[in-house]
Symmetry: none
Subunit: 242 residues, 2 copies
Amino acid sequence: MTAQDMASGVALWRQVADGIERGIANGTFAGGERLPGEMEIAETYRVNRHTVRRALAMLAERGLVRAERGSGTYVETQRLAYPLRSRTRFSEIVGAGGREPRGQLIGATEEHATRELARQLDLKTGAPLIRIEALRLADRTPICVGTTWLAAERFPGAGRIYERARSMTKVLEHYGIRDYRRASTHVTAAIVDATDAARLDLALGRPILVVDSTDIDADGTPLLTTRARFAAERVEFVIENN
Amino acid sequence: MTAQDMASGVALWRQVADGIERGIANGTFAGGERLPGEMEIAETYRVNRHTVRRALAMLAERGLVRAERGSGTYVETQRLAYPLRSRTRFSEIVGAGGREPRGQLIGATEEHATRELARQLDLKTGAPLIRIEALRLADRTPICVGTTWLAAERFPGAGRIYERARSMTKVLEHYGIRDYRRASTHVTAAIVDATDAARLDLALGRPILVVDSTDIDADGTPLLTTRARFAAERVEFVIENN
DNA sequence: TCAAGTTGTCTAATATCATAGACAACTTGA
DNA sequence: TCAAGTTGTCTATGATATTAGACAACTTGA
């Protein structure tokens, strides 16, 4: 313990915790990676192992790391802070966190509107729909799979356009819609099914967040409705109360 | 002491000191003004008077406040926090502190390069130089006098241009240099001489900080070298370690 | 299976942090 | 001059932070 540290007014364990957190934030310790052993950390910070343990306990409580007895302490895969607002796009959210957003088309098919889908899109039951299945990733980590339904009459060939653009915003732009917003958002939770588990690279039995949302244009006309399934352990919805 | 404070890892006296320092920085407590009494501060922060005293002792040691027995504790004339980075300009630093930066040309003359100046500017000994002497102030307080040397062949008439622009950045822009950066910075201390004492409005015998620096362009070619003398009691250099 | 290395959990001693009270020394204004 | 209010200094006590050592429980790879 140096004289500087003694006069700093910041506890040693806190300094160690801050240092490790910085390392996680700037990529020195990547998500899922194993941290140096407690003894090694203690030596690098010239501090007792118990002090390191206290720092790690704080980081563990905040969910940044996870200790595994006998093995080591690992950087928890960083949860994506996902604000639920009316005008944010997946790419913006991921980009804001310094990660690269990716989109991947799983498939586009045609089907007919169920009563529920018809109600949400303000169509008649049985109306032709385009169903787009897409996977969204941050860097190489799958975040969510989303199923989007659009009216086939208004958006003919939307599936092929999404395949090239890989962005629903750009698909709507192709049809001349530059301004749209979230009309409603419903969030619930479930257990992942086998299909989504494979797509999301999730173990069976893991929880997912299910988000049903409908987007409308400036006139209030429904454009599309989406059911997105998020890997709960990789995302954290943020509702801002201002 | 709340549960939050206990787990923060930051000592109470440090929190109080930071709070008072913030108050000084944002103008809640102006320079020269009397702080609330120790008892009053203790009550506002809900801590013991001794804890406040420790906070004030730290601030006093850093020169931000000065205690006067029987009277009170007063805010010392604010020291300018001056970051030593490769791309910051005097005007930006002063402006960031909410003060108005001013520059004042003392004089511009021609002279020949000494061996040392030639080495720094990558010229031959005896090469013609332009020597610009300038005073820099924050609001009405002199902060430093700087002597800048430029190669006369590359920057003909730089003195007159500085006189109008009052900014070395703008002088370089005039010669088509939009990007330049600090190549080296050397800091030492000395006692002010009579000439600089008058310019800086400093008492004789007061310490100054002497900063020798050389700026280079994007290609690494030396553009100018400067010896700046700062009134030590009005400035505090900040070196960020990240 | 075993050795080496890891995290988890005890006990213990020392240093620092924070509170509490009392009084001295000093300044200020009535 | 004097009372009120200020900072300076001392003692004392309990809580927290930090270090130190030992051992258990567990994982990993040879």
